[in-house]
Symmetry: C2
Subunit: 325 residues, 2 copies
DNA sequence: ACAAAAGTGTTTGGGATACACCCATGC
DNA sequence: GCATGGGTGTATCCCAAACACTTTTGT
């Protein structure tokens, strides 16, 4: 929406504040709690980081506004956004009186891509947040308080992890949100006793074929790992890595073998490994790809569980759901 | 604030919603949870009941607005108002797009007088609420949900009772809010174990001199009960009854003996007793006044306690305050 | 083979529940 | 003296914390 070519004006008998929504999106990378921020492209606070959000339209509720802005600025489609509170300080925006209705939400870390338009969206570790625009640092503190409270009674954790997860992953998440340490064994029992976890049958989550010992991987054919010209591989994990990385450049087109190699190289280079090509050093490539696969599977030892939402809703009705630690 | 003689207009490039606050005030009459409502004097929904509230001004925060409107419309000065949430349905007000920021608060039932201006304010039992204006019935349901949750972790009850209260009163309050029954003895222990109650020394809370046996009261001089011409009595309870009842008509003036008699008569007549005057039937009057005093003291048997706010804040810091039932 | 982490079982102390009992007050 | 309700004590049960042990997995 451009701020120019506006001939219309809107007049009122009494002054009206502007109303915006802001959305604090939490994620979890396996170690730390993360927050999704966007870099502001316009004044005020141009170049600073802020929560996704924007002005409410006259035909949408606050929640609809929050979801729309989130989609427009970060590409995220989230079904659950929870209201955090309103921030109505008189001078919180230099342009005019702006009241912000803040929401918070939870996203699987892996599903986030950059924003669709010029806006840059990025995950930040909770302990390493930059200076924020407006009063967003205050809003963040409130959001942190809130998530720490909600996690005791609501299934906060499950929206942050992949659909299938191990209990150890869940524990790491709880520990990093609450900043405490739990006894592993008691955590197991308590979580299972809640009854909201259902075990995933082994066959439902087949391990990717490259999962396993590194030695075996070296013996695989290069085509199997990096795919044929149609871009299909037999490794779902490498597949999903490439798909999400490539999504910003092509829209739904198949990924060629060469592109796939470039992507993997680029990704691996972030770990400060030297670049390789498929032809020059297939063995090295295998190794790195295997490392990439395995690093995605870190902590992925053990039984997988899934959140049973029906059962949770049922228990919530009867008001006997508690997650005390 | 009148809606006429406005020459000024306020123009904006983009449409702005109007923003109001609404305040759900809970009280407790010893038996039931009550809600404070005002009768609307203007369209829309003229004549219907609604929560106190109004449009936000450009130089006040939402919370300040809520407190101001509460004061203007009901005479209540409350220090703690807690945010409940925003209600942003597109068509919730027929005039224009109005977003409401709702608060909820707790008031000692006895301290409420009628509104200062034409607005009628009245307590309603929670089970007997009339049809409400706007979406206020929905807001009320949300407020009920919220208070039921908050009562477990926050000292909700203490703001609803008098400063000094018995544990039995506190239990009745908890039971009526949560709609359950507790074992009296376990409730005692749990409440005392929290450590936030401090015992009131007997001499700190002298019983009013008319408290006690009805026979004794009959022997008292009429001047003692209804005061001299300056309007002073020796019964603090009758004193406070008269002061609060008279407040809407005179502003701070002393209450004469005759007015006091009228007030007491009027109050007693609500119990469908015949009117009496001081001269005609002083004995009857004594009796009725004594009944009024005693009815105020119902349940006032037993040790009195007081909420220790410092200790609560201290425990809240350490995050080890729980009131589970 | 060894280390590390997953998964399961056992003990135990403290708090919640369900009672019994005594005392104070009012009629 | 009897009824009502306030105040305190006690036995039982269950759950949460602490810890031991076996199995699995990766190198």
């Amino acid at each position: 929406m451009s701020i120019d070519n506006h001939t219309e004006v809107y007049t009122y008998k009494y002054p009206h504040p502007a109303v915006t929504t802001d959305c604090v999106v939490f994620g979890f990378d396996g170690k730390e709690l993360m927050v999704l921020l966007i870099e502001r492209g316009l004044e005020p606070y141009k170049g600073m980081w802020a929560f996704p959000g924007g002005f409410i339209r006259m035909n949408e509720t606050a929640e609809e506004c929050a979801r729309r802005e989130l989609r427009e600025e970060t590409g995220l489609e989230l079904d659950k956004v929870r209201e955090l509170g309103t921030f109505s300080g008189v001078n919180r925006d230099p342009r005019e009186r702006v009241i912000s209705i803040a929401f918070y939400s939870l996203a699987r870390h892996s599903t986030v891509r950059g924003g669709d338009d010029a806006v840059k969206a990025k995950w930040w570790a909770i302990d390493d947040i930059p200076q924020l625009a407006f009063d967003h640092d205050y809003i963040l503190r409130q959001a942190m308080k809130r998530i720490r409270q909600d996690i005791h009674f609501e299934p906060v954790g499950f929206d942050l992890l992949d659909e299938e997860f191990t209990i150890a992953e869940l524990q790491r998440l709880y520990e990093s949100i609450l900043g405490v340490h739990f006894d592993r064994r008691n955590f197991y029992r308590k979580m299972l006793q809640t009854g909201v976890l259902e075990e995933v049958e082994e066959e439902e989550m087949p391990r990717p074929i490259y999962y396993g010992k590194q030695k075996e991987m070296k013996r695989m054919d290069v085509d199997e790992l990096f795919g044929d010209t149609m871009g299909e591989t037999q490794s779902p994990i490498i597949d999903s890595i490439c798909a999400s990385e490539a999504s910003s450049s092509h829209e739904g087109n198949a990924i060629t073998r060469e592109e796939r190699i470039k992507i993997i190289n680029k990704l691996l280079n972030t770990d400060s490994l030297e670049a390789v090509t498929c032809d020059s050093a297939p063995d090295t490539m295998y190794e790195k790809a295997a490392t990439a696969e395995r690093s995605r599977s870190v902590g992925r030892k053990g039984k997988l569980y899934r959140f049973n939402e029906e059962k949770y809703n049922q228990m919530k009705e009867d008001d006997n759901f508690r997650l005390e630690f």
